[in-house]
Symmetry: C2
């Protein structure tokens, strides 16, 4: 069978599974998640064995230490996958929720009802734990899932998918609810994201290269979890100590993640008081600063920032700094160079706060708080499948609700249109 | 300047306009809509003059009578455009609405706030009134719009766009909020729907060919308003007279539209009582019936339906009929051959109603009512930009709310992440 036909068949199976999944009760789904967790707990040795094969092949192929680390399934990571399955079981099931309900004058009752999306394709890279984490969220929302992980994690992904299927099957998981693309043929991704009518949504999880490749090839809708070029703007009216702490936290608390600050914008009137104090704190934390000309007038020892710095996602202890003359200049900078992820203003002026939150075109905008809070758990949404930098359907932390859509259920007693 | 650069520049202008639009109050937007309506009323002669040019060119080019009819702007159609602008002014403005609001234990306030999408590209065919209708909806939701109409309506579209701009400008419409692509170069559409970062959403309005072309070329998100292959399923427990009336209405009340019924499914146990009565009614209405074998056992005089009939959107007084053995068979048929638009069950059995509404994967599912109600006005949503057959972001009638997205506005007093 050709790859194309194979993928089409996989899609057809997923569509059939999705129809069965739509009928499962929450109780049943939760018992299936628990069975998956138990199955995984009982097959740890097998996971280690398969994971070893990937690690050995990876070493032989000369993968970097960082990649090998992502690939490794330690006992702690297996524990985390098991806990993840149980955590998702506890989350509120959005499927079947009545979003709104209204009556029409002719007696028709219209109920906007939350329903599964259908078939979701997850395309990811080297972390095999995504196999369990993404499946749990898609399954809890009654979606069928087609998983396509990195070729370097194929043995690990296979055993995890098998565990989820086998564990789930014991409690009535519909066949083909969880399918893993086992061919490592790169064309499989293209086939997958072009199966209009069989795949309802593709979510790429990984680096910029993967996301761009998937978006370019896709014919089905894609929700992107893209990079974070996040800003903090220190307004002239900012409380100095709050500004220093919020900016320090945004930069340093965990610099390698998408909601960490990459560029700091400072109002000219506060630059000479704020910047020296802040620079001292940054020096203590080992952060390299790069500034525009006005910044370097206050901090002459730091390197000059170039245009490339405004577009950089360092994910590291590096920070670009620019002095601006007005809140509007900060807004313009963010809208021009940012990635529409998370941006903050520190200000005591209500008009500036409002202008900033209204005009900065980002998924999350903060007033007097660190950008590091953009996160499903920190938002109180429970687990997230990612942080969407897209504008349609899901924006910002993407939890269970965002893995659903809606339909209108209209009930009458014989109404006809005149 | 190359077409590519021209379109990029147009996109940049739209992005800047969108930022201004995001700051307009509802009152201001409504006064702009009123000014547009007044401007249009005062420039009727000009509209007729330009429309005449399109009609003359169309006749010369040998356009069909149907196309010429769509192209023509009669006084009644100009009245309808003017009324449309005023009707949209009256609708509730969704922008700025707080969708949900919650506090976190650390004191952060999170407000999920409705905001404009940004820049919307509308790609349409021969009806020039779309220029005004689509603009009104996009503008009311503070979106910048880039319009690309059919080449055969270029003079009409130009004058309408000019009227909207000029009228709006008198009341402070930001520059470039409404831009019309005036080149008739076909490549402009490709450029338009590939401007990631400048166009946030493309909505094609027209026939299957246009929608397919746009979807295939697009790199930006597309919401499709696709065809309607709508079904009515008559369950064994249906009330006979209600079933006849609902099915008749779904087929005959306006057969040329997307929410009209194209296929009727009938439970085997009720076929011999329902079908003769219904066929008589269809004969009186001049509807041609085509049935499967079981149907033709009851109605031997009708033509045989082939597989092509199950996939046909007749938009005409033709109806395909199939007898099924069970509600599940009806559901399967609809999910296999339908277009996920609008489908109805006529049944007195609650379990069947529930199974149908849960499992039929369509934007709108009806119990004991005609499919003809799928419509923004009939739903009480006011004007609609179309009826989405997609699953993400907007499904079913797409009104003002569906032309918005959301952002999270998070307010604190110095919160940092531990």
């Amino acid at each position: 069978m050709s790859l194309h036909d194979e993928m089409i068949e996989m899609g057809d199976r997923a569509v059939r599974a999705a129809r069965e999944l739509a009928g499962l009760t929450t109780r049943k789904k939760n018992s299936i998640l628990e069975a998956m967790a138990e199955e995984m707990d009982s097959r740890r040795a097998e996971i280690h064995e398969e994971n070893e094969k990937d690690l050995a092949a990876g070493k032989e192929a000369g993968l970097s230490a960082a990649l090998l680390d992502r690939l490794e399934l330690t006992d702690a990571r297996i524990d985390a996958m098991i806990k993840g399955l149980r955590d998702v079981a506890v989350l509120k099931d959005p499927v079947g929720t009545k979003i709104t309900r209204w009556m029409r004058p002719n007696g028709l009752e219209i109920v906007k009802t939350r329903v599964p999306i259908g078939v979701i394709a997850i395309i990811y890279e080297s972390r095999p734990n995504v196999t369990a984490d993404a499946t749990a969220l898609c399954f809890k929302t009654s979606n069928a899932v087609i998983l396509r992980g990195g070729r370097e994690a194929i043995h690990s992904n296979r055993v995890i998918a098998d565990i989820l299927q086998a564990g789930g099957a014991r409690k009535g998981l519909p066949d083909h609810s969880i399918q893993l693309v086992t061919t490592t043929d790169r064309d499989a991704v293209r086939e997958l994201v072009q199966m209009v009518g069989r795949v309802d949504l593709a979510i790429p999880r990984g680096g910029e290269g993967l996301i761009n490749a998937v978006s370019t090839m896709a014919r089905v809708p894609v929700i992107k979890h893209y990079k974070g070029i996040c800003h903090t703007y220190i307004d002239d009216s900012a409380e100095l100590e709050m500004a220093v702490q919020v900016a320090e936290n945004a930069k340093c608390q965990r610099p390698g993640v998408c909601n960490a600050m990459e560029t700091l914008l400072v109002h000219a009137d506060i630059a000479s008081t704020f910047l020296p104090q802040f620079a001292q704190r940054m020096q203590a934390r080992g952060v390299e600063l790069r500034g525009d000309e006005a910044t370097r007038q206050v901090l002459p020892d730091i390197a000059a920032a170039t245009d490339a710095d405004w577009e950089a996602e360092y994910l590291d202890l590096i920070l670009a700094i620019r002095v601006v003359g007005h809140v509007d200049e900060a807004i313009d900078h963010i809208n021009t160079y940012g990635s529409h992820h998370s941006d903050a203003i520190v200000s005591e002026t209500e008009a500036h706060q409002k202008r900033f939150t209204q005009r900065v075109d980002s998924a999350t905008v903060y007033v007097n708080a660190s950008t590091r809070f953009t996160d499903g758990a920190e938002f109180g949404m429970g687990a997230e499948i990612g942080i969407s930098t897209d504008k349609l359907h899901a924006r910002g932390p993407m939890g269970l609700e965002e893995l659903t859509t809606y339909k209108f259920v209209v009930a009458g007693d014989g109404q006809i249109r005149e």
